[in-house]
Symmetry: C2
Subunit: 592 residues, 2 copies
């Protein structure tokens, strides 16, 4: 037993902490294992020895049953079909070593009470937990934990029910394992799709709840998922169950004999977000302050008509004018949904790999990009939008949209029926009306063994900002040997600029380049006042450090709340740069 | 010096608290003053003696200057023109005794650094502060503090600048003292009103920032003010300055020689709300966790056309059908804004007092209400809505709206030009396009010395819920001798049902009846699963107690965060039922 481990055990006996500080020598650092004992996982949780780990696993099995606990003790399990799905053991698109961001075990609670019990167990053993919903947080780390050796909490395997779809209220109440595709299918199978749409992100396989609390976006008018959520049920780090908003007010039919999570919920829970007093929901997003076990999400009533379209924008430099055209239209909701401006290579990569276009192993040149655009009958930039409503409304909006974009010389306008051969427009036609797709991610095959990493800075909706971000990111991509592949996702008053860094994950040099490049880009961006909205595990500390206004006042607030709610730091330590006081955050630097 | 005071001083020397508990005998309770010394305020802050109060005031004067400190030491000051405005000393619509919810002093910071310094001073002296913006929180307590004797912090007197109106970004950045009317005037004076609208609540005199962080609503498509805010600057209870969202990322032009609040802000601060990591903004709403000193608010781009309308709904029981018609139209945004269904008496009271309609001193009967409706050419319920956009869009929407409401026998449809004599439609015509009004509150003069108290339960948008809330509240009103005056304010998937309890504040019996009735109504509502979204000082504890799911899990979370951020409990103790650990919450019951 290491000294650090003994000390941390002693600390635990004292009640976890004394005052606000933890003695420096007891802070959690990466485990250094002299040798693996039989039954040890690949990586033990920090500060936990073999015996303690075995005891924890034994108790976890007592809680959820043997079928719902897997120890990751075999390198063979990585990237293979060991545990359900490779993405659930680690990050399928790993940028550190394949065996770096790896859980020691995965536990699958069967229900909310299991989640509560497992959290109490984690506090008892001081074992870090890393909850994930479905594990498809692709480009941002998948199901992998920030702290190697954490116990993954697979919230989606068993807790995957659509608890309610309310047609009159136009909402759903879902568990963590419900996917966008699953929710859409439910609507179709119950003949509700003509009444209600679900907003979907690019891929339909992810968790509705997980995507929403990570503040992911979709492409209908309900694209800001967090804005459209309503009501959470959350397990706090100490195991306490909470319902937010109107859910905090008990339903009159409450039954004292039932456990809290089984209590009938307030009838307004999914109708009104804010409830009474401080509105706490936001602190459970991109957060380690609680595990969201139920979430209400508003569904979009059928708008009474729909028309998707593509506007091709011929020249690279037209991006500037296009964004200037988009800004006022989007703010005024003439552009009703979250449209995208896609770089030619994002479209090209959906229909073919790099070899299909070029024998070059260098970043493609402007001449080559022009040739691809010509071949595909697309622009250097391509704008995918949609109109919602009955014909007179759509016609009025389309007139404005078309007239506005016509200011770009050579811009062309297409409806899907005009160009059935356009694969991407067919996909976007579905996506922008909430029909999930699994085809979009084809672009990841641009390179062999294609993996990707998202660099996602926020931009103002101005031509200058979009061009500046495009130039800086494209230049870095080329410097590191990558093609620029990306798009601009247009919110109400900002753009999520998504740079898709595609690399060959079997090529250590490319992987390292991708990793090094994104670190450089984060600094490039911060120097210009740009910040990212979400990131991969490996970059969380760096990005959190850029949000450092007034001596990291925001981080100090986050840490204060974290330490108050999770004094032992068991829940998702290190997530988005927030290290509990029981951890030595600096010791957890991710190796390049 | 009382024992309790000595104990609390000793406690303070020990650093405010030991562990998580405060010794019971040192908890703050209402001050019992044997006699007032010269210079004492009407009510000393709890646990503070005359000398300590004088010292505090002396230091406050050193910070903000003599002109910005007023001690409330004269009963004459109450309800008179003592300090700027009666509403700033106490609650102009008091329901407890006139001298109950009263500050000991009012301090007006001149700038953000003053706010920080005053907070540090409050921590030093353990004097509770009660911040208010403009003090026009009418119907909910005005500028008065929850804890009598708190020092009012008048954020609006000096900090009243519109810091930016950004036309391209369609937003404003405001200080606490900026009123809706002020922001609207700014747009008009700068010829921006044809580009941007500000959403306004019923009255234009309130603070944009204050209303928004109390989660007030307006009536354009931007009616959910909190949804439309973007970026906060907050002073935490310990005096730390924080910028939320993208504001946490410094602007490249940051100047180390400037204090934090003077630093140039990130250019995306008012463009993107969420930033990176936990989204904390919500915890600063209806809250005692920080003082919001700057706030971004999105302005609505001119929609390119506007048409307000009134639909009169003849019979009392038609409310059911009307709400059923409204629900799908609102969720689908055919009703684009926040419309209202107003009870006949709310409209009647705007144009005349009770005596103008009846000699009765009893609640008016259905027969009398029908007569008033007939006299005013209105329905028993009256629906005020608006259409936004160019003519083809408005026409398409109006067709649907008109056809839908035509299902109500006898419903009539009016544009303002059809009935220029309708005072209320003229007011709503302005309000629903963001032109502030000061006329709406005329209904408070329904009775002599009219004052009002809002009872504001949330309802689902169903005929059953609206009728049930109407019946329960009207019956209680009649039981306590009041006319039912109220309206239904229709959000996306819920109704803010606002019951305006109008009483004669000079009549102790009416005042007591109003107070007793709202206590009864809160219980009536909770028994049916209805909860209020906001309330008067006197009812905060009671309502907070109704949001008690799972052993008050939400309140425990609120308290944990409160105690972590404000260990001495100096900021707005008791606000919305949240008592810091330094207070004996039960000792602060409000007398009937």
């Amino acid at each position: 037993m290491s000294e650090a481990f003994k000390a941390s055990t002693r600390l635990s006996l004292l009640g976890g902490h004394v005052g606000d500080k933890v003695a420096p020598d007891t802070l959690r650092r990466p485990n250094v294992q002299a040798s693996r004992s039989a039954g040890d996982p690949l990586i033990l949780p920090p500060g936990i020895n073999s015996q303690s780990f075995k005891d924890f696993i034994g108790k976890a099995i007592d809680i959820v049953g043997e079928d719902n606990v897997t120890v990751i003790n075999d390198a063979q399990q990585l990237g293979k079909q060991s545990y359900l799905d490779p993405s659930k053991v680690h990050d399928m698109f790993y940028i550190a070593d394949e065996d770096y961001f790896v859980s020691s075990a995965v536990v699958c609670p069967r229900n909310v009470q299991d989640v509560q019990t497992i959290l109490r167990l984690s506090n008892e053993f001081e074992v870090p937990l890393w909850p994930f919903s479905v594990g498809r947080n692709v480009g941002y780390g998948g199901a992998a934990p920030r702290v190697p050796g954490s116990v993954g909490l697979d919230m989606g395997k068993n807790m995957n029910k659509i608890l309610e779809v309310n047609v009159d209220g136009a909402y759903a109440l879902v568990e963590p394992g419900v996917t966008f595709a699953g929710l859409h299918d439910y609507l179709v199978q119950n003949n509700l799709r003509d009444k209600l749409w679900v907003d979907v992100p690019d891929l339909g396989g992810g968790s509705v709840l997980g995507n929403t609390i990570e503040r992911g976006v979709g492409y209908t008018p309900y694209g800001d998922h967090w804005m459209m959520h309503c009501g959470l049920e959350v397990v706090l780090p100490d195991g306490t169950l909470l319902r937010t908003g109107m859910g905090a007010l008990p339903d009159p039919s409450a039954d004292p004999s039932l456990p809290a999570d089984q209590q009938p919920a307030n009838k307004c829970w999914q109708h009104f977000n804010y409830g009474f007093g401080p509105y706490n929901d936001g602190i459970f997003t991109q957060s380690s302050l609680g595990i969201v076990v139920k979430m209400g999400i508003w569904l979009m009533p059928n708008p009474g008509g729909y028309q998707s379209y593509l506007i091709t924008i011929p020249r690279d430099e037209d991006l500037h004018q296009a964004v200037e055209i988009i800004r006022p239209l989007r703010a005024a909701m003439v552009l009703q949904n979250v449209p995208t401006i896609r770089h030619i290579l994002l479209d090209a990569a959906v229909v073919g790999d790099k070899k299909a276009y070029s024998n070059s192993d260098k970043p493609l040149t402007d001449v080559e990009l022009d040739a691809i655009a010509k071949k595909l009958n697309l622009g250097r930039w391509n704008f995918y939008g949609a109109l919602y409503g009955p014909p007179p409304v759509r016609d009025a909006l389309w007139q404005v949209v078309k007239a506005s974009f016509s200011a770009i010389p050579g811009a062309k306008f297409y409806f899907p029926e005009d160009i059935p051969e356009s694969k991407v427009l067919q996909i976007r036609h579905d996506t922008m009306q909430g029909i999930p797709s699994m085809d979009e991610l084809k672009w990841v095959d641009w390179l062999p063994n294609g993996a990707h990493l998202f660099f996602s800075p926020i931009a103002k909706v101005t031509g200058d900002d979009a061009m500046a971000q495009y130039k800086v990111t494209r230049q870095r991509c080329e410097e590191y040997g990558f093609d620029f592949i990306g798009d601009f996702v247009v919110g109400m008053r900002e753009i999520h600029h998504i740079v898709c860094i595609v690399f060959d994950r079997k090529d250590p040099k490319q992987r390292r380049n991708a990793h090094e490049m994104i670190r450089t880009l984060i600094d490039d961006a911060a120097k210009r006042g740009w910040g990212e909205y979400r990131t991969h595990l490996a970059l969380m500390d760096q990005i959190a450090d850029t949000y450092n206004f007034n001596n990291n006042a925001q981080m100090k607030l986050n840490e204060t709340i974290k330490n108050a709610l999770d004094p032992k730091g068991v829940l998702a330590p290190g997530k988005n740069g927030i290290w509990p006081k029981t951890y030595d955050g600096k010791a957890w630097k991710v190796p390049l």
